[in-house]
């Protein structure tokens, strides 16, 4: 009973002290002296607006998307919410400035919206006919970016939907002039000439470790391969054409004695040459005629596809493959409307899924269609044994009966894949272990 009584007193006691506390604290008249968050945001938006519009020669922009590829732009923002841009992925985008609109918006962070369509949006377009990416997502790129950091002449931003990284660097007068005379196209053409060679390119550090360099100019990626003990490792980075001579990497490549953040175009004896570089300090890209690593190790990382002509034979093909090729051609033509052609099959490998996908291109001018056939594989002493799993889409279902001779050839015995070094272009062959004359050769990219 006593205990209960105590409780009865205790409750008003707590209430009382609570109310006292409330009374005291609610009387506090210490006004908030700082700036309101929305005022801070307004000030931030204004300062970014001034920063963007008052760069006298516009901005070099490097965008690194979720699909690894890097893309170079030049932006010039004016005070009327318009932005002019060049982009490094098409001839037109490299020599014709396009104008669209932008605005700064207060979202979670101050954000830059490119709010009507321009070159930049082609990368993000969910219609994959525009950019060759994934339907619904394109190349996992962005056109709404949040400001992250301003460092000297550089602004770092992050994409709001796909987290792509955008780097803006103030351009110089000379750089602006270069962009305006179509230098992005010239730079791309020089890089294409330099990297599309049958030789194998590599960097070598002071410890004589070799790092192969494989550029994919259309996908805007560069792969570095190097041995670690018995295994081969690959670093896959994006790159963006930039300014007068630069190919900026998505992040620096630092391994062993190598530390580079870009490639640079220079001139040697009047001819353009590409070198690796850390800022202005350059490093020679060396060449050899001998493969640095077996093709199979680099297939699926440095090299994506073997492109085997189907309408014509190719140097190095053997008789059994050509017989099957012509038989398949006749049969496939009979299945589709007159005038349809079958220019090439593209062979790709997915090593994590242990899948080989053969994509037969179907051409009905002006459209091209893909017909994908799936094969699983097991590795057998330097070769792979393919097992046909079936058509992957409607197109391949339709042409499957016609394509059968080639499927049978591929699955007869184990297939060996390696470099073919007989022509100036970089090519690879596939050779059946059981059918001596089932051999095809195609360009690599």
């Amino acid at each position: 009973m006593k205990i209960i009584m105590k409780n009865k007193i205790a409750i008003p006691g707590i209430l009382l002290s609570g109310l006292l506390l409330l009374g005291i604290s609610s009387c506090s008249k210490d006004d908030f002296k700082g700036e309101r968050p929305d005022q801070k945001l307004t000030a931030a938006l204004e300062s970014y607006s001034i920063l963007l519009t008052e760069a006298p020669h516009g901005w070099k922009a490097h965008l690194f998307t979720g699909s690894v590829g890097g893309y170079g732009f030049w932006f010039e923002f004016n005070k009327e919410n318009k932005v002019s841009m060049f982009a490094d992925f098409r001839t037109e985008s490299g020599n014709q400035a396009a104008q669209s609109s932008y605005r700064l918006k207060a979202t979670l962070l101050p954000a830059l919206y490119f709010d009507t369509y321009s070159y930049l949006h082609e990368l993000a377009d969910p219609d994959n006919r525009v950019n060759g990416g994934t339907a619904g997502w394109g190349l996992l790129s962005d056109f709404e970016f949040s400001f992250r950091e301003v460092k000297g002449d550089t602004i770092l931003l992050t994409g709001n939907l796909n987290n792509s990284k955008l780097q803006l660097v103030k351009a110089s007068a000379a750089e602006k002039a270069a962009y305006q005379r179509g230098n992005l196209n010239a730079l791309r053409a020089d890089a294409t000439r330099f990297f599309q060679t049958s030789s194998f390119l590599f960097l070598k550090d002071n410890a004589n470790t070799v790092y192969s360099v494989n550029m994919n100019i259309s996908q805007k990626t560069v792969a570095f391969n190097y041995s670690v003990g018995q295994t081969m490792e690959t670093a896959l980075l994006g790159f963006a054409f930039s300014g007068e001579n630069d190919l900026i990497l998505s992040e620096p490549f630092i391994k062993g004695g190598i530390h580079i953040d870009r490639f640079i175009r220079t001139e040697v004896a009047g001819a353009p040459v590409i070198k690796a570089a850390l800022a202005k300090e350059t490093m020679e890209i060396q060449k050899t005629e001998n493969p640095l690593f077996p093709f199979f190790l680099m297939w699926g990382s440095s090299y994506q596809l073997i492109r085997v002509p189907i309408e014509t034979t190719s140097q190095g093909n053997k008789s059994d493959f050509d017989l099957r090729r012509t038989a398949a051609l006749t049969a496939m033509r009979a299945l589709l409307r007159a005038g349809t052609t079958f220019p090439e099959m593209r062979i790709a490998i997915n090593k994590s899924e242990k899948l080989v996908v053969v994509n037969q291109i179907i051409r009905q001018t002006p459209y091209s269609f893909n017909a994908n056939f799936a094969f699983s594989y097991t590795e057998q002493d330097n070769a792979i044994k393919l097992k046909y799993e079936g058509p992957m889409d409607g197109n391949s279902t339709v042409i499957e009966p016609g394509f059968k001779p080639i499927i049978d050839g591929l699955t007869d015995g184990a297939m060996e894949f390696d470099f073919d070094l007989t022509t100036p272009q970089l090519r690879a062959f596939g050779q059946s272990k059981s059918l001596t004359n089932f051999r095809f050769v195609g360009l690599i990219n």
Binding site: L16, K105, D115, Y117, D125
Partner: protein, 289 residues
């Protein structure tokens, strides 16, 4: 003792309430973004003002705003040179025929207050794409406009099909169509409508595969097909050899119900509306700028 505590409590409560009285003035600086985004207006904005905002109080939102769309999906904004092409077609082929047949009051009452434009379609995970959306009778979202070419009649019909479809949603969201509609062919409504072709749908008495998704979509698809593709198209579907007699009757009944619905609920002569829409499509001239 208890009384004292009670009075104390009361006193303190009163004191704490009063002590909160604060005469600080409200902040004078406006809140960021209140009143919408601003930008320097250009010829497109002026055209929209003149053609739609001032006469009809319809806002056209063509600049990217993720919060007006499905912000979890990847869409892209419209190209500036497409905006007037699209909006002019909307005005000529959707708004003016309704205004002509139903009158200004009708349009000012029921027209959506806002059109939101985007350049690409919205891609669903099931492989379908979304071309438009109507929300709460207030807003219509039009998608995949970057490909729109008004010189191509099919493209014109596709765009206008979307708008008439979405606007019919607004009409039935205000006054529902007769319940009988829902029981004409309920067995064919399915969430996996996209596994059907239009031909499959026609045999079942539905005007398109999408009309199979539910009764609401069926109603607005039928309205939109009748207006945009015309009576001839509708009659040709009914006349198809593989459409059974029962389905032919459903098609005829549906058209009859639509005519009655428009007449009784909105005092609109549906046949006149159909004729006006067809005339607008067939004589459509895109602005030259």
């Amino acid at each position: 003792m208890k009384k004292i505590i009670k009075y104390c409590c009361f006193g303190i409560a009163l004191f704490s309430l009063l002590s909160c009285n604060n005469d600080d003035p409200l902040p004078e600086t406006p809140i960021v973004g209140l009143g919408g985004d601003v930008w320097t207006t250009g010829p497109i904005d002026q055209w929209i003002d003149k053609e739609l905002l001032t006469p009809y109080n319809i806002e056209i939102k063509y600049k990217w705003d993720p919060y007006e769309l499905n912000y979890l999906r990847n869409l892209v904004p419209i190209k500036e040179d497409q905006v007037i092409k699209v909006i002019n077609a909307v005005k000529q082929i959707w708004l003016l025929p309704y205004e002509k047949v139903a009158g200004q009051t009708f349009i000012k009452t029921f027209a959506p207050r806002q059109f939101v434009l985007a350049g690409s379609a919205e891609y669903n995970t099931n492989g379908t794409i979304v071309l438009g959306q109507a929300e709460g009778g207030r807003k219509i979202v039009l998608l995949r406009l970057n490909d729109f070419n008004p010189a191509n009649k099919e493209a014109l019909q596709e765009l206008l099909h979307t708008i008439h479809h979405e606007f019919a949603h607004i009409l039935h969201q205000n006054v529902l169509y007769p319940l009988e509609w829902k029981f004409l062919n309920p067995q064919w409504y399915t969430a996996t409508w996209f596994n059907n072709t239009d031909d499959d749908a026609h045999r079942q008495g539905l005007i398109s595969a999408y009309a199979k998704s539910n009764a609401d979509e069926d109603f607005v698809e039928t309205v939109s097909f009748l207006l945009v593709f015309g009576q001839e198209y509708y009659d040709n579907v009914i006349a198809k050899d593989d459409v059974p007699e029962a389905s032919k009757n459903i098609f005829r009944r549906k058209q009859q119900m639509i005519i009655e619905y428009f007449a009784s609920k909105y005092k609109i002569d549906f046949n006149a509306l159909q004729a006006a829409t067809q005339e607008a499509i067939n004589n459509y001239k895109s602005p030259t700028n």
